[in-house]
């Protein structure tokens, strides 16, 4: 029976995720929102498939956060972490300090005693590592200034949880209701009974052990396990590592997330890094999903219905307070150009640690039951709202901001007269740029990423950086003087947008485009952009050519064979385009896209008559014919 219960629960959680997340994704929203929504739906307030005991699941699923920090640690070189120390302690420290003070002051206004007010301030000052980092990773924003600052603050908050856990019993003692010596801190951290210096010593010892093992021992262990060729043992080993560290950290009273993060950083330059990452990732994803679902399920809507005004009022107040403090600090730490808004919106929610801290405070009789219920609800709601805030920032606020900034930024740049404009200067654009430069052409580059500007300028490129889909920057870059525009950017829709704009306003300019796949190519054909290159086709074909050589083809035969294939591909593309024009609905179902593309291509290929190009070089054909001729002659002579 027990197992059945467990499987039923698992079934509900998984089904909710599988149904909701793809729908939300389809709508262009992040997966976090999908999981939260799934949780709300299966929670007691809507379907009631899981009860209020969802918080047990939540505690288990918090391990997902631990795994996430491990993976993030893996991607962070120690030197990079060191260079972030100013933001971690400066920005993070100030954020926790100011937010605590302001929220505590507000709590005082609402008649809370000072010790409770401080506890509430500390609890609500934290932001959600799980939500923010998941969002950042999903959107690839971990590397931008706002993402990095947010990450630093979260890292500091993870460190701050430990002293907060220590302070709460002290604050509770001020109530006079409970003796400090009996506080539950001792139960929480078994070391609590040791003297302070001993605690510190153990802490240092454990951390050094992690660093030592990670640096010198782990490599050999991984190699030994990897050599067995048993992938599941490697998986077991990776999980063992993370769980072991998490346990050790809890034993000495540090946050497990922090410990595994440290281990991740130590392993960041290990050669098994990618293997570890791909092994841990599915567990991380599932557990995090589970975590978000349980947050959604824990939202007590009954309480919300009973006191909607108070709760919503507090919620709005909380987010505004956090937002303002974050925004001001962000500006102070030189975040500009919309990154200040992004940073503040990212961290404006409350943290999953708050759930732990709130129930801990309740156990310590610091907070009464009503306050606890209200706080838990506010925390969960703030986390649920967080993705919506980011959508608001992305869709409504940042277009307005960037329009304003573009104006200021480009007005003082003189427009260019170069005959070639390349939009998007990543790996693809760079090759084209180099080729043109080698042939002594003057090239203007538009890119969103300002990196490498100085180097490129020195070599004679003219650079404009900004959003190429904005007409101003194209005009500013001198598009009216250009002969050709090369759309080499990786962004699918933006490239089409730019093509539309140029076709409409500068029809005389030739457009050359990089296509992500054949459908992208078709979209260009539809816009009458004929010179289109599928981005990986040629390099793949050329590697195929080398494969043929290794299989025994002579170099020239291999070359001819690839030539045939390439020309053939052009014809296939043309045929498929005709099909697509007739019936593009059939083609656009996103998920079926790739397999459909493949089957269409293979089908067309099968129906195609590949002409034996090099038939003339085939000696046998002539030989056979000569033999036939001779046979004919012989027969005739016989008849005579």
């Amino acid at each position: 029976m027990h197992y059945q219960d467990f499987f039923f629960q698992a079934f509900i959680f998984l089904a909710a995720a599988v149904v909701t997340v793809p729908v939300i994704k389809k709508l262009g929203l992040g997966s976090v929102l999908g999981y939260l929504l799934a949780g709300i739906i299966i929670g007691p307030s809507v379907l009631g498939l899981v009860g209020y005991d969802a918080d047990k699941v939540m505690h288990f699923a918090e391990f997902g956060v631990v795994l996430m920090l491990f993976v993030i640690g893996l991607e962070l070189q120690p030197s990079l972490l060191w260079s972030m120390r100013r933001t971690i302690f400066g920005l993070g420290g100030l954020q926790v300090l100011f937010t605590t003070i302001v929220i505590a002051a507000l709590a005082l206004l609402f008649d809370f005693k000072i010790n409770r007010a401080i506890a509430i301030g500390l609890i609500l000052a934290l932001s959600s590592t799980a939500i923010v980092l998941q969002t950042l990773t999903e959107k690839g924003m971990l590397q931008n200034p706002a993402g990095r600052s947010a990450f630093s603050v979260l890292l500091f908050q993870d460190i701050a949880v430990i002293p907060i856990l220590a302070i709460i019993p002290v604050l509770a003692a001020l109530n006079g209701s409970i003796n400090l010596a009996d506080s539950e801190l001792n139960q929480l951290t078994p070391m609590g009974s040791l003297p302070g210096w001993m605690q510190l010593l153990v802490l240092v010892a454990v951390v050094s052990l992690i660093v030592f093992v990670g640096r010198f021992v782990a490599r050999h262990l991984f190699r030994l396990v990897a050599e067995t060729g048993m992938h599941e043992v490697f998986t077991a080993m990776a999980l063992l590592l993370v769980i072991g560290i998490a346990l050790a950290m809890s034993k000495i009273g540090l946050s497990p997330a922090l410990g595994t993060f440290l281990a991740g950083v130590v392993l960041a330059d290990n050669e098994y890094r990618h293997e570890l990452e791909t092994t841990i990732n599915p567990f991380k994803g599932l557990l995090l999903g589970l975590f978000f679902i349980s947050v959604g399920a824990s939202i007590n809507f009954m309480l919300l219905i009973e006191e909607p005004l108070i709760i919503l009022g507090f919620l709005v107040l909380l987010i505004i307070v956090k937002f303002i403090i974050l925004f001001i600090l962000g500006r102070f730490f030189r975040l500009r150009k919309g990154y200040d808004f992004l940073f503040a919106f990212l961290l404006a929610q409350s943290s999953e640690f708050a759930f732990v801290l709130i129930s801990f405070s309740e156990q310590n009789q610091l907070l009464d039951e009503r306050t606890t219920g209200l706080l838990l609800l506010m925390v969960a709601l703030s986390m649920a709202i967080s993705p919506l805030l980011l959508i608001f920032n992305e869709k409504a606020l940042s277009p307005i901001l960037s329009r304003k900034q573009n104006k200021i930024e480009y007005d003082d740049m003189e427009s260019s007269e170069n005959p070639v404009i390349i939009t998007g200067f990543g790996r693809f654009g760079l090759v084209i740029g180099r080729l043109l430069l080698a042939n002594k052409y003057k090239v203007t580059i538009i890119d969103r990423n300002p990196a490498n500007i100085e180097v490129l300028r020195r070599f004679g490129f003219k650079l404009f950086y900004g959003d190429v889909t904005r007409p101003e920057i194209l005009e500013q870059a001198g598009i009216k003087n250009a002969k050709i525009v090369i759309l080499s950017m990786a962004e699918y829709d933006e490239a089409l947008k730019v093509a539309d704009y140029i076709k409409k306003n500068h029809p005389q300019i030739k457009i050359l485009a990089r296509a992500k796949d054949i459908y992208h190519a078709f979209e260009f054909f539809k816009r009458n952009v004929q010179t289109v290159q599928q981005e990986v086709f040629d390099s793949a074909a050329e590697l195929g050519q080398k494969a043929l050589i290794h299989l025994g083809y002579s170099k020239y035969e291999a070359y001819r064979s690839i030539r045939t294939f390439k020309h053939h591909e052009k014809e296939v593309l043309h045929d498929l385009y005709e099909l697509w024009k007739e019936d593009d609905k059939k083609f656009i179902q996103e998920t079926r896209r790739f397999s459909e593309q493949l089957s269409e291509i293979l089908q067309t290929e099968k129906d195609y008559f590949i002409h034996e190009t090099d038939y003339a070089w085939n000696v046998n054909a002539v030989k056979d014919d000569n033999e036939k001729e001779n046979e004919l002659k012989n027969n005739r002579s016989k008849h005579k």
Binding site: R563, T564, H567, H611, T613, D614, Y615, A616, W617, A621, V622, D625, K628, E629
Partner: protein, 195 residues
Amino acid sequence: MKKVLVIFAHPAISKSRIHRRLINSVNNQHGITVNNLYENYPDFYIDIIKEQQLLIEHDIIVLQHPLYWYSSPAILKEWFDLVLQHGFAYGVKGKNLVGKQVISIISTGGDKEVYCKEGRNHFTINEFLVPFKQSVNLCGMDYLPPFVIYGSYSLNNTEIEQLNIKYKKLLFGLRDELWENNQLNSAQYFNDILD
């Protein structure tokens, strides 16, 4: 009226003074098709089916190119190798080209005098063109006397203009069947017929 196909091979047309002018003057003229090999097949990947179709559709095939090492630029050789397939152009079943006429239009750097037994090149143009002539004969076609543009480096603008008139007369004349077959076959070089 006959249909004329000019198969043109010049790897650096932008540097050419003579051929570019000649080709441009007949391009898109009624009954004349220009097939610029280097332009159509920059990677030497010759579309054999298309080329064979073109041959079938035309009556007179002009092979126009500068003389490189006493022969044609490389792509025309590739064209011969691949397009004139056994079974299409020659062999028991290869009868598609029988009866068509072929003429070479050649430009040379050297003057007329160096292309003889006593001259620097020791052989005449017709001797150098023997492989072309025999290839054409093997396919059952007539090889007309070639038209040769001698001393191409030293031609001035007026001379090129006069040359262009002759060239047009040649192509349009062939198209419009201006000359009797025995008149064509009796000449050593087409230059003699036009002069």
